[in-house]
Amino acid sequence: MNKERFVMFVNRIPLNLAIIVLCAIWLLPTLGLFITSFRPQQAVNESGWWMALAATRPGTDEYQTYCGQCHGENYNALPNADLSSPDLIAQYRRSIQLSGTFNREYNGVIHIPEDQHPDAQQTADILDHLRIASGLQESPPRFTFANYKDVLVGYSARGGTYDEVCAADGPSGTRTCDFWTDATAPNAVLRGMINSFIVTVPATFLPIILAGFAAYALSWMDFNGRRVMFAALVGLQIVPLQMVLVPIFRMYTDLGLNGTFLGVWLFHTGFGLPYAIYLIRNFVGRLPADLFESAYLDGANHFTVFRRIVLPLALPAIAALAIFQFLWVWNDLLVALIFLGNNAPVLTYQLSQLVDSLGGGWHRMTAAAFISIAVPLLIFFAFQRFFVRGLLAGSVKG
């Protein structure tokens, strides 16, 4: 590296540092969620996600505090009480047995004086620690998929994972311990995911199809009031969603459409249309006129031209639109909350409910949250260019 380049490199350090710090700040919250969703419950309770790789065995601190001074770092400082010996530790199966030794005298000395006893939880952690240290027990895995399985089947009880509880106690109450049966129960996240897809896919394609027809008429048909019609339809973008909730809610109550997928599809179609018409018309209106002329001269009617020429050529615009609308509906909470609610809980609704109940702990809530953001993230990284274009152009949507 010559001197000039070195000076330039040094001059650019503040710039690079600023960008890296900002990017780190932006990335950290999501990274924390991602890492936590793969950590076992005990690990989440014991140390922050930033310690995931450094995390030590359970009960390390407790052992140091209560036992380490006499028994030593390597557990074998006292020859008569070698805590690294599996034979010795195997005698203590439960923490109550361990706490029973605290008041005993060994060589005329009380094991642990009354006022220095660890509490029940600490004793249990110390026993776990010793069982691992003596090789009786495997140390718990750093990372696990159990949280994901728990939330997919909607299991939120405290203590133990779905698999552990099913192995120990078997089915009970609404829990059948059959993965697919449990995972399609109303509060299961897998069911929420299915509901999200059921809502999102038609709510993405319906407005695009309707907008396609309207946009074709608005760009390639000749009739009075065409400009006014275009301005009126697109101008409806101005109406915010909140503005129509009350009347539609009442209309749906009268028609019995509250809590139905059809009601939500139609609602999203209504709110997706103005922007969809605007985008597709702009694209279709710019297709070369010769194309249409020769098709018409060949005897094609409007419908054939629309189906055979316009739809295939408008695909780039439709793709950007579809991605935008898909994410808009997938991420929506307000419409799902009001028109579907508990009847068909979608992912965003389930998540908002999980926050209220704390969903059986952070290890599971982070897993549920990550399931809901995984789909948008996948789409984002796969179609970044379309995605950004669609989102920017659609930023003025209602």
Partner: protein
Amino acid sequence: MRTLMVMRQGRWTPWLYMAPAIIVLVIYVAYPAIRTGLYSFQNNDGTASAAVRCAADQPCWGFLENYRQAFAGQQGQIALRNTAIWLLVMVPGTALFGLLLAVLTDRVRYEALAKAIIFMPMAISFVGAAIIWRFVYNPDPGIGILNALVTALGGESRAWLATDPPGNTLLLTVIGIWIWTGFTMTLLAAALKSIPMEIIEAARVDGANELQLFFRIMLPLLAPTIAVVMTTMTINTLKMFDIVWVMKGIQTDVIATRMVSELYLDRNNGLASAYAIILIVLIIPVTVYNIRRFGVEEAEK
């Protein structure tokens, strides 16, 4: 717009093509918007004027009673105050961070990667983002990274989200800035790229330093885009619902969440409609300005 003369169609054909879209738009957007306007002057089931909601020895605004309750009620005032806080923090906040990141990332080779990282929260649902940030703000320094940092620096961990209002709303606006900066950055970066290199080179040759370059050359040229960014963010902020709804803080309501609470939890249709009208009255002038601006830019292209 060019129109073909070769192809004649029946008088009704265009309307047949547009009918499905028009029907859905009338039923779902145009008609209900007008209904909401009417509801806002009526009682809760829309059977009489809002005046019947007046309490005996309270001030009464007649058919505007719903609006009086929205403006004078304690809940309504909290919502209005918080909406103002959101606007004051979010709009300049996202614009400043967006500008900073657009200018900084423009100068490095890993521009695309850095931008993707900043933009990523835009893909995530607001609910997902709210959970991510509840985690960050967690009172336990062994769970929440903010408290972990505070305690590592010698401070005391705090229950951040239980901060007294309106402090808790400020903490929520941080989430908003985290989400929307990617959006403002992308718009501003596109505008930055469209500044001709010759202008910048000429300024450099004339001896301008980087700061002068930014304040004297770039900022004036970016001003129209900054205006669009700020108006768009004003609209987005006014509509903000999910973050506040999911975080459920004490007195963190904004107009949009207040409205949904009245509608969904208390079935106060009249009052909820009044909030909706207040919202659109705030939004319309900004939107009109925005559409005009977009129109000007389209015409200039």
